[in-house]
């Protein structure tokens, strides 16, 4: 990296690209952009810019590229891994002004949108045509589709409808050098390598996306939600496996433990049984006949699986309320404690009880309560660790405890991040999931597409020397298999 550029040098150049009101450089102006949804990681950028057109974006990227200025792209700032934390010597490229839905194509079942469009706004616009955009992260009222692309965002309907990567037709934008590029095509695949899958989830490190064509689906004719309560986590976990073994793929399949149930119920009054050890929210959607058929099978399976109470939402209002409880689980838990730390491991469903018991033992060991919400359908676990960041040392302890949860996820065959991304938050745990050669391969991918390391430098992929330090520290905690520097042979 060259000498850091000064604001005095940079401002006049930016003023040649976009109107002064869209260039933020004072401390007061920059303060709202110091962090994303993971507010323990904060930094002010040198300058933030809010372009309104692709041309402006391109000119900004070229400027940064030519002068070796770090460029961090940001959407709505709802990310949970500090992936959009600004670079102190860099430009923060805020794409929220590019928030137009350009076209809804009812013949191709696609929508063309700009990156700053909110996730939910796509479905709201498409519903008039009987269509919707499937991925629905819990932050969907606020999060932007551009951010969803960067993180390969999931949601509560992934088992049936997939992640962001499964619902994108093509991406337009710019390379790190500011050259216009389209990945994907108007068809369902493209010539050459599958670049689109590589770019989606790359945390803004391989290109900047300014135009997105998403896939739309017909709104299901009928949707039913069941609320099933259990007196043990294990029984609820087994019920999930039994539903899937019966050939049912629910639209949504969520689990909450008792701490999460009580918090959500007190907050949203969703009708959750406060004394249950676990609840499942099961959404079944499709044609009316199919829904009725699957509902019948699901009820039967749940009864055979030891459900203690079972309720089907009577109408749309009750269905919305049942989901409100789940989707507001994070803020609800937030009311219980000054701060909470949200984890994002994914595990094979069969290991659920083992992992939850382990988390419980850590909770006792560290003295921090934990509430668990779980995308049971796809194995994505969100333990919320309650703590108080104002008490010196608690944040560090929580991070250590969180690290141990992620290590457990890896040892049972899972991953350190299901949908929130690595960003800065989980960069230390990357060496648990990947050996040095794999990390090195990631760096080579980055260098192939961004040789000057302009786009979001320092995120997602750790430096190898940090991997070695982390492994030395973690050697007592995790099996050697995970820490091997390379495969034998």
């Amino acid at each position: 990296m060259a000498e850091p550029v000064s604001l005095e040098t940079l401002l006049p150049q930016l003023q040649g690209i976009l109107e002064a009101q869209y260039i933020l450089s004072t401390r007061e102006q920059l303060k709202p952009f110091e962090c994303d949804g993971l507010s323990v990681y904060r930094e002010l950028p040198l300058v933030a810019v809010l372009p309104g057109t692709s041309e402006e974006v391109q000119a900004i990227i070229r400027l940064c590229h030519d002068q070796h200025i770090p460029l961090v792209t940001r959407g709505a700032g709802t990310g949970l891994s500090a992936g959009a934390k600004p670079h102190p010597q860099g430009v923060l490229l805020v794409l929220t002004r590019m928030n137009r839905i350009l076209e809804i194509d009812t013949a191709s079942l696609t929508a063309k949108v700009q990156p700053g469009v909110r996730n939910l706004a796509i479905s709201e616009a498409a519903v008039a045509h009987g269509l919707f955009y499937a991925p629905d992260p819990s932050s969907q009222i606020a999060c932007s589709i551009g951010g969803n692309i960067a993180e390969n965002a999931g949601g509560v309907h992934c088992l049936k409808y997939g992640l962001t990567v499964h619902n994108i037709i093509s991406l337009e934008g710019f390379t790190a050098a500011g050259e216009a590029i389209t990945v994907g095509s108007a068809g369902l695949d493209s010539a050459g390598f599958n670049l689109q899958s590589l770019v989606i989830g790359s945390e803004g490190m391989l290109m900047v996306v300014t135009g997105i064509t998403v896939k739309l689906l017909p709104v299901p004719q009928q949707t039913e939600v069941l609320l099933a309560a259990f007196d043990a986590i294990e029984t609820a976990g087994q019920a999930v496996s039994n539903i899937i073994a019966a050939g049912i793929i629910p639209g949504g399949l969520e689990m909450m433990d008792n701490n999460a149930i009580r918090a959500a119920e007190d907050y949203a009054h969703a009708g959750y049984p406060r004394d249950a050890a676990a609840i499942l929210l099961i959404e079944i959607d499709g044609s009316s006949i199919n829904v009725e058929e699957q509902l019948q099978v699901t009820r039967q399976v749940l009864k055979q699986s030891g459900v203690t109470s079972l309720k089907v939402a009577a109408d749309d209002a009750e269905r919305a309320l049942m989901w409100k409880g789940r989707k507001s689980a994070f803020p609800a838990v937030g009311r219980l404690s000054p701060d909470y730390y949200c984890m994002d491991g994914t595990i094979p469903r069969s290991k659920l009880a083992e992992v939850l018991n382990y988390i419980d033992s850590l909770s006792k060991e560290y003295g921090f309560p934990v509430a668990n919400v779980f995308h049971a359908g796809d194995g994505n676990l969100h333990p919320l660790i309650l703590f108080d960041a104002n008490i010196p040392g608690q944040l560090e302890q929580v991070e250590t405890m969180g690290g141990r949860i992620l290590e457990k996820c890896i040892t049972v065959g899972g991953t350190i991040t299901g949908e929130h991304g690595v960003g800065l938050e989980k960069i230390r745990q990357m060496p648990l999931q990947f050996n040095d050669q794999e990390i090195e391969q990631f760096h080579r991918v980055k260098t192939a597409l961004d040789p000057e390391n302009v786009l979001n430098p320092g995120k997602n992929i750790p430096l190898l020397k940090h991997c070695q330090e982390y492994r030395a520290l973690a050697a007592d905690l995790v099996p050697n298999r995970l820490l091997s520097q390379a495969e034998p042979g």
């Binding site: 590029i181 108007a186 068809g187 299901p220 065959g413 299901g418 991304g421 042979g489």
Partner: protein
């Protein structure tokens, strides 16, 4: 069931040291596809076995050389299937070949593409390093998505050793309906069927007839004829006696997939008009709700590529009488895309030994 990973690793290491290019071979069922290359063979077919399968997790892990038929029969025994319905040419395709070619079957727009089903894989890169990406769980966003990048890369970025894919339950019932409707109107009809909540899992137009496959629970399928009578009286339709049309379509055994003439695969928006390429009396099959065409044409490769480029799609000269033809196989890449491809190739295979020239002459 045999683990040959380290034998393959040794071969790749040696080839890297000696800078000897390798042709990666599984069942050789797709040797007609892509640019022909004649390097020393790296045979993955001895690296076989389903290493993990837990039906309630809806995932299966297998080594690359495992015959596709073994995987499909194992899944079928548990009431499950591959969502992407890949072609199995000559019954010889392997799991690794399915991934490397990335060819999805008739259900692709309605269920999943090959890359959609991939959760993780283990590869050998061109340095002979064994690397694992992704995992065995549905959601995994740690690091770049290298596993899905491998799908369709024709082995140019790595030798796939093992992979985990998501599977789906086999539907309880299926039926096939033939509609007497023109090709151009069939796109809207398929969309309409889907928006009515009908469980469409495949569609194909052969120039005369649109055939649609519906897959769902028994009760729903039993009710389909009533629903069609109620809502689709404006078009002539007929339920087919069985569902035997689909396997030959999936495995490219129908007329129109032969290599007597060039057979083109055109990937487009469903609404794109490629009729300028059609040649009367030559086969033209349209799948995927209008997003995939197979056609034999008198148009030159340049005309085909130009037509698809103008529509934002892409063309592949899929089968051809001259199996040794080197040029005009895949849609030409833009200079910038070619640069990205070459740089990624260099990142994974610095000595350029893995299937060089299989996809494009430049790498």
């Amino acid at each position: 069931m045999q683990d040959s990973a380290h034998i393959l690793q040794e071969q790749v290491r040696q080839a890297a040291t000696e800078q000897t290019p390798l042709s990666i071979c599984g069942g050789r069922s797709k040797k007609f596809y892509g640019r022909p290359v004649d390097h020393e063979r790296l045979q993955t077919s001895a690296h076989t076995g389903i290493t993990e399968y837990s039906p309630t997790e809806l995932v299966i892990t297998a080594r690359a050389g495992t015959p596709l038929q073994d995987i499909e029969s194992t899944l079928a025994n548990n009431g499950q299937m591959l969502a992407c319905e890949p072609p199995d040419f000559d019954g010889k395709s392997t799991f690794g070949g399915m991934l490397a070619a990335g060819l999805s079957g008739p259900s692709r727009p309605f269920r999943a593409a090959v890359q959609d089903t991939v959760l993780g894989c283990t590869i050998l890169n061109g340095k002979g390093e064994i690397l694992r990406f992704g995992g065995k769980v549905m959601k995994n966003v740690a690091g770049y998505d290298v596993s899905r990048l491998m799908v369709g890369a024709l082995g140019c970025l790595g030798v796939i050793l093992e992979a985990t894919v998501k599977v789906i339950p086999v539907p309880a019932a299926e039926m096939t309906v033939a509609f007497a409707i023109s090709r151009s109107k069939s796109v809207a009809l398929v969309n309409n069927l889907r928006s009515q909540g009908m469980p469409v899992t495949a569609s194909v137009h052969d120039g005369q007839t649109l055939r649609v496959r519906f897959s769902a629970g028994r009760r729903e399928i039993d009710s389909m004829e009533d629903q069609l009578e109620k809502h689709y009286s404006f078009v002539e339709w007929q339920r087919q006696d069985d569902n035997s049309y689909w396997p030959p379509l999936r495995h490219h055994e129908l007329k129109g997939f032969d290599a007597e003439k060039d057979t083109w695969r055109l990937s487009t928006a469903p609404t794109a008009d490629v009729s300028e390429l059609a040649t009367p009396d030559q086969p033209w099959i349209t799948e995927w709700g209008g997003a995939l065409h197979w056609l034999q044409t008198n148009a030159t490769p340049e005309q085909v590529f130009d037509c698809l480029a103008s529509q934002g799609g892409h063309a592949t000269r899929f089968r051809r009488p001259d199996s040794q033809a080197q040029e005009s196989i895949f849609q030409p890449l833009s200079p910038l895309h070619m640069t990205w491809h070459k740089q990624l190739k260099q990142a994974f295979d610095p000595e350029n030994i893995l299937n060089p020239g299989r996809m494009y002459a430049e790498f």
